[in-house]
Amino acid sequence: MEYVSPEGLRLDGRRPMEMRQIRAEIGTIMKADGSAVFEMGNTKVVAAVYGPREVQNRGQQISDKALVRCEYSMANFSTGDRMRKPKGDRRSTEISLVIRQTMEESILTHLMPRSQIDIYVQVLQADGGTRSACINAATLALADAGIPMRDLVTSCSAGYLNSTPLLDLNYVEDSAGGPDVTLGILPKLDKVTLLQMDSKLPIDIFENVMQLATEGCKAVANYIRELLLENTKELEYRRGV
């Protein structure tokens, strides 16, 4: 199957180095301390952050740091075939762990000892790149909740099909069986916090693909920063500053 046409267009009309349309919104769930909706093309994810609050399970309390917990769930209608079991399956558990470890690196947990921060991510529509969309949504929700972080964590995926590095794979491209690199970085500090890949790639091509993913992450970071600044300006304007 041809994923990149001879003219250089992908199945959905994008160029190889082009990301899908990003759209995000902050503060959609009023009850949560912080919340955000993040869309990358057709992938739509909502994240809510509750915390810092008192630890519910005394046995898990850490005396000098905050406890970060995360749960990832997919809605029944999020994939093409209706899913029977929205949570608790192995993939959800693995992704919950991945998101938790990635966000924990960036949160300044030592500032909130003996407390707990809960990150809940719900996938409304899945069309490839759900892991990245979840991390981006979680970053926005944490920033909205005012939780101190080292830096924003942004994530993007990239792959290699028909001898071309492709940025931001959708579901069809993802299931093509080629390599799929998911990258999460701290953009201003220039550090990598998440790197996952399946299938195999020669090392020099891997470097290209990772470089492409890094640029995608930086583009997402710029968008997120713009959104946060605009949101804060809007809030200050409403408060009459």
Partner: protein, 287 residues
């Protein structure tokens, strides 16, 4: 959550007695309702409803299946509600299961009618393709994204909107099928039939606080309720289903009174929902 203090509880109860609630509404006024259809493009129909801080999403997926032998001329509908932990940290893991089951059962009771399929709000016989062999199975999924009381009404409204947004693909049946053979079907990708939703009821929940009932309670008000009755009423004013929640006993005359109040309120709600759905579909058609 700190919970409500004694003073706050008195304030809510006193306000309800004087027809003035914490957010300024009257007892029988709904919060502003925002409705959007077509939010899940992969589904056959979908809608998102926001009432105050309560937000729910409903989606309808249609798949071909066999009708049950007991009712060969009717399609099948199943309703399932999931409570997302984004709405409430307590819904994490299996914490939301109890509430999900309660909501699913209440919705099934209100919308689907009895075991024989009679009296269903949704017309099941329109879902049949080949009698006895092929019918449409509708899977209606609700997701509670944010919860601030009155989940049942919001889910009922979302399901109604999602069903009016649903397009069932047109099916061409190969003529030569006989006996027990499964006929061949050709599911069209282009042509869609709009579902007939004029008979679908809307759910009105009346929450009893003190001696009065309020409509569209917030979660603060729900924590003060003695009991709640959810009544589903359709356009003709017929009662399609009734559920009572809460432990306090109610005098039968009060229940009859609540039913008549619900009928009255449902007329306004139906009108509002119909106009919102029409506006949402028009928006979706333009975009």
């Amino acid at each position: 959550m700190v919970g409500l203090s004694v003073g706050e509880k008195h304030f809510i109860q006193g306000g309800v007695a004087q027809d003035l609630r914490c957010d300024g509404r009257k007892r029988l006024t709904y919060r502003p309702i925002y409705l959007e259809t077509g939010v899940i493009p992969q589904a056959n129909g979908s809608a998102r409803v926001r009432m105050g801080a309560t937000e729910v999403i409903a989606s309808v997926k249609a798949e071909l299946g066999r009708p049950t032998p007991l009712q060969p001329d009717k399609g099948k509908v199943s309703i399932y509600v999931d409570c997302s932990p984004t709405a409430e940290p307590a819904f994490e893991g299996r914490g939301g299961d109890e509430l999900s089951t309660e909501l699913s059962t209440a919705l099934q009771c209100c919308l689907l009618g009895g075991k024989s399929g009679a009296g269903a709000g949704i017309d099941l016989s329109s879902l049949i393709v080949v009698e006895g062999k092929i019918c449409w199975d509708l899977y209606i999924d609700g997701l509670v994204v944010s919860s601030d009381g009155n989940l049942l009404d919001a889910l009922g409204a979302a399901i109604k909107a999602a069903l009016s947004n649903t397009g069932i693909p047109k099916v061409n049946v190969a003529a030569s099928a006989s006996g027990d053979e499964q006929p061949e079907v050709d599911v069209s990708d282009e042509e869609f039939l709009q579902f007939d939703t004029s008979g679908i009821p809307v759910i009105v929940t009346l929450t009893k606080i003190g001696r009065h009932y309020v409509v569209d309670a917030t979660s603060e008000e729900e924590s003060q309720m003695s009991s709640a009755v959810s009544i589903s009423v359709n356009r003709k004013g017929h009662i399609c289903g009734l559920t009572k929640r809460g432990g306090a006993g109610l005098d039968p005359s009060i229940i009859l009174d609540m039913v008549s109040v619900a009928k009255h309120v449902s007329e306004q709600l139906l009108e509002k929902l119909d106009s919102e759905i029409a506006a949402a579909e028009a928006d979706e058609g333009e975009s």
